[in-house]
Subunit: 153 residues, 2 copies
């Protein structure tokens, strides 16, 4: 887990599972239920620098994570983004390859007594400017457990 | 070019080049100089449904397109996103797998007498709410020519 230590400063969230090349983490922001970060285990700041096996592994994660979220929370569809913008606010920039995985919901969902809505469904969530939605620790643990159980990795 | 006809309704922009599995197009919105759409040539609405060869081809495009944009316009870094949100505003939804490729610029760039800035550098462009920036046809043709010449595909 040395690699996970390396990523601590990035605030990607809590580990759900790791594959050979990637960490799958539950993102701090749960505006959209089940939002994850998929972060490379190796130090690399450029998407174009991925090795073939890392790219193949990512394809499997996309398939499995989407499936697990549909099973867990009946997500309607999914957004994937590799941005790394905020790394460039630092001088020098310290980008690290990671993906934002945002499940999108046509209908609101209730989980562990909490209501999750997706008021920007059909649009980018990044437009919303609603800030970070933090939820209680027990609910995060339950979400992680549910996704983990539905991941066929 | 039958497949390109199929994509007409999507308004992805003007063809720069095609690979075995993907079209690379210059997006209508040029707020960020050289913004492209990379659209699958086959009908498929789910990122998880990509075939292995399509995924491998995409990796080559990422590498080559980033290189070509650095060469052409000295872009600082790049955002990649697979969203397909607006397809879900229709009933039934008609998603088609495509990627948004947004070059980001720390410094402003002048090309063909036009100034391009990236006021949201370090943040998501999707936050900007600035609408679509259309530029004259001759400038689009020059951008396409320049990217095409620098693509090693």
């Amino acid at each position: 887990m040395k690699q996970l230590e390396m990523l601590k400063g990035h605030n990607y969230g809590d580990l759900i599972l790791e594959t050979e090349c990637w960490f799958i983490l539950l993102a701090p922001d749960q505006k959209n239920l089940g939002t994850c970060v998929v972060a490379l285990k190796r130090k690399e700041g450029n998407l174009a620098g991925l090795k073939d096996e890392e790219w193949v592994d990512l394809k499997e994660i996309i398939k499995n994570l989407q499936w697990a979220l549909k099973e867990s929370f009946n997500s309607t569809m999914f957004n994937w983004g590799c941005l790394m913008n905020s790394s460039y606010l630092k001088d020098p920039p310290q980008p690290h390859v990671h993906w934002h995985f945002i499940p999108r919901y046509k209908e609101k969902v209730r989980f562990e007594g909490i209501i999750f809505e997706d008021p920007c469904f059909g649009f980018s969530t990044m437009k919303s400017n609603q800030g970070v939605r933090r939820i209680p620790e027990y609910a995060r643990r339950k979400i992680i457990e549910k996704i983990r159980n539905n991941l066929k990795i």
